[in-house]
Symmetry: C2
Subunit: 414 residues, 2 copies
């Protein structure tokens, strides 16, 4: 269990009086509402925060003045929503222009909003940063915070991010079952995992291994240049050894020039410049067809785990839930007591035991650019994770389903 | 909770003395090991059953004399395996020839096997039936039973089959999360569900609906001729109403001539004559591309739930686990006490309360042909299930994750 340490409070800022607005942005997670509820419950404790509004569908809801009154939700409802996957306020993928920001400030002034919280990943941190910078230029005074989340675990400054642990638990659990399925009916099984630029979630598949022969036998990450020829060689080698092969592949695997393999098949781009990689089985089918064409293996299957990774209910990581809640709470504490803006990052203390603490960091330090898996987490062939990664990820994911196996005493042939 | 009634025991047959062989066949489920363990634990109680062997990978393991001694597994291990998804003895998809049967009998004689149990779906029931008929011709005397399982729920004679309830729970849970994801980031989301000829599993997606606007908004089943034109019209209508649309589609949807839509894209066929429909994202992508081409909706995604439906650990339906265990136990009881051959079917008593009983049925009555969703479970437009289906499926699946939602009091616009 995580030992908590609160962010250092400078207590240098007087609390401002006014209303609060909170919204959610980017890809949902199964614990994003924990952060929302953590922030709302903390806000209720502070006399300086008057009304607590939620904007529907991120900054689009601000532009449309589409707010709900979160102060009128019961604790029971708040707790029920906290346990519920996906963004309860709705989400959006929208990068604000200078004109959008001006319109946003008009709305914030009209509703006397002096506390603004935006829950999201690196694109949402960029949005928060843009709004904060524009506000500075416009001399609009408010407290402006980004509350971190992303299943991709690719936010700078953070040891890990809320949402990742639960998504990683889903992926590891799925591989546990799928490995057993592949052990029963042998063949090559390729599973495509979310993670545009960072391989953390794909790497978490390695937690599924319990016995010597368990898959995933191969893991391909966006951080290591993907070679189709090496992939085919790797699969052949594993198949020869085990008579089967389970593969974990990130949706973001890229060639040596850095072009995503799937990007060649996809044309859709959002306002942050991201190419659509999820919501299609194309990459899995492409890789399966390559194995069918280049080997004599007759049973080759591919699954793309898709949106279930960020939305499957009922199996959230407990540590992830607690940390997501706390990050929301800490952001409100910072905004009331110590800082005008920022994001609260999860940091880990060195040492064997899992101990984390929360630290306010500058918005620009988490915005836009993504964090990648460090080299020490990837094996030298670029087809697996290391023991260091497993030690890193285990406490964030927490307990996994128990898997039994027969002793399997062979009967002497007659 | 299911009220149990044991199969009527004629007690007309004397128990034969000899060894027992059990094996698993066809697609795994998350409770198939419950049936295996139920049979093994019951067998241990009967003096007439001496050794308890498990054949690895179904009848292939018999032909190869690839047996393990299940009598040497501890109760602790047996219980751990019972809770573990996928076929612990390995599986196979193989239809035996007359020559295979002769070879099988040679092996059974050599190991003094007088009790044979084969856990599987309708193809495995056919295999059991073929072996039983060939044994009769060859005057080989043994007790020969099929133990039912299939996530497709398409075994004749059965109200429902072990494995279905847990797969249905996975599908319903997945739709709960995915519906929330689609509510946060609107668009069209198409999810492809397993089920070659029967729509039960796809229909179970409807259990995800809690609130008025919840998806799945459309459900397409193999039992109703699929029209691409109607599909596009349906999606447009729902999208106009809700600003979003979540669709459940069976992998086995077929055109008015009965040809599976996906079969046109797939060439792989197994020895039972089944075309490969799973392990590819092709159908989802085909349908998503059709919506993109024929509408102006800009966000269209497709996921194929794939093998996770039959293998995801840790969330099995309790009722399903209990019934799977009991079906294995009942087959052994029948074999020892009352019948030379057969399968034990799950029957449901009429009435509002969920009450089932177990009944021995003839092998030929469950072999080969599949059961379909009755017309009363499908709405007249062929794009949804009925209330009767929901009442049918609910008790088999059991409790689903709790989903919270804000009261959402709108803030008056200024």
């Amino acid at each position: 269990m995580a030992k908590k340490k609160t962010t250092k409070s400078k207590k240098s800022l007087p609390a401002v009086e006014g209303n609060m607005l909170i919204a959610q942005s980017g890809g949902p997670t199964v614990v994003i509402n924990q952060s929302l509820v953590g922030a709302v419950l903390e806000a209720k404790k502070h006399a300086s925060i008057k009304k607590i509004y939620g904007a529907l569908h991120g900054i689009q809801g601000i532009l449309d003045e589409d707010f709900i009154d979160l102060g009128r939700e019961s604790v029971k409802t708040l707790e029920a929503v906290a346990e519920t996957p996906s963004s309860a306020l709705g989400s959006v993928r929208k990068k604000p222009t200078a004109a959008d920001c001006a319109a946003i400030f008009d709305v914030l002034k009209k509703y006397n909003i002096r506390y603004f919280f935006y829950i999201g990943g690196n694109d949402s941190a960029e949005t928060t940063h843009i709004i904060n910078e524009e506000a500075r230029k416009a001399k609009f005074e408010f407290r402006c915070f980004h509350i971190c989340k992303t299943i991709d675990n690719d936010l700078r400054q953070n040891d890990h991010t809320p949402g990742f642990g639960s998504a990683a638990k889903f992926v590891a659990s799925a591989f546990m079952g799928d490995n057993l399925d592949n052990r029963a009916l042998k063949g090559v099984k390729i599973n495509v995992i979310m993670g545009r630029h960072a391989g953390f979630l794909t790497g978490a598949a390695a937690l599924a291994r319990i016995y010597e022969d368990d898959g995933p036998h191969l893991i391909y990450l966006p951080e290591h240049a993907f070679s189709m020829a090496q992939f085919v060689r790797d699969v052949k080698r594993v198949y020869k050894e085990h008579g089967r092969c389970v593969v974990a592949v990130s949706e973001g695997i890229s060639d040596s020039k850095g072009t995503a393999i799937l990007a060649k098949l996809s044309k859709e781009v959002d306002s942050h410049g991201n190419v659509q990689l999820s919501g299609t089985g194309a990459l899995g089918d492409l890789l399966a067809n390559e194995i069918k064409a280049k080997t004599k293996i007759d049973r080759v299957r591919a699954d793309t785990f898709g949106y279930l990774q960020r939305s499957f209910p009922g199996i959230a990581s407990k540590v992830d839930q607690q940390e997501a809640r706390e990050v929301g709470r800490q952001c409100v504490l910072c905004a009331v007591k110590s800082h005008k803006d920022g994001s609260v990052a999860i940091k880990r203390k060195p040492g064997k035991a899992y101990k984390i603490y929360y630290e306010r960091v500058a918005l620009r330090s988490v915005a836009k650019e993504t964090r990648h898996m460090p080299a020490k987490f990837i094996n030298k062939d670029g087809n697996d994770v290391t023991k260091a990664f497993l030690e890193y990820v285990k406490p964030i994911v927490g307990p996994l389903p128990a898997i039994g196996r027969f002793k399997g005493v062979p009967v002497k042939k007659k």
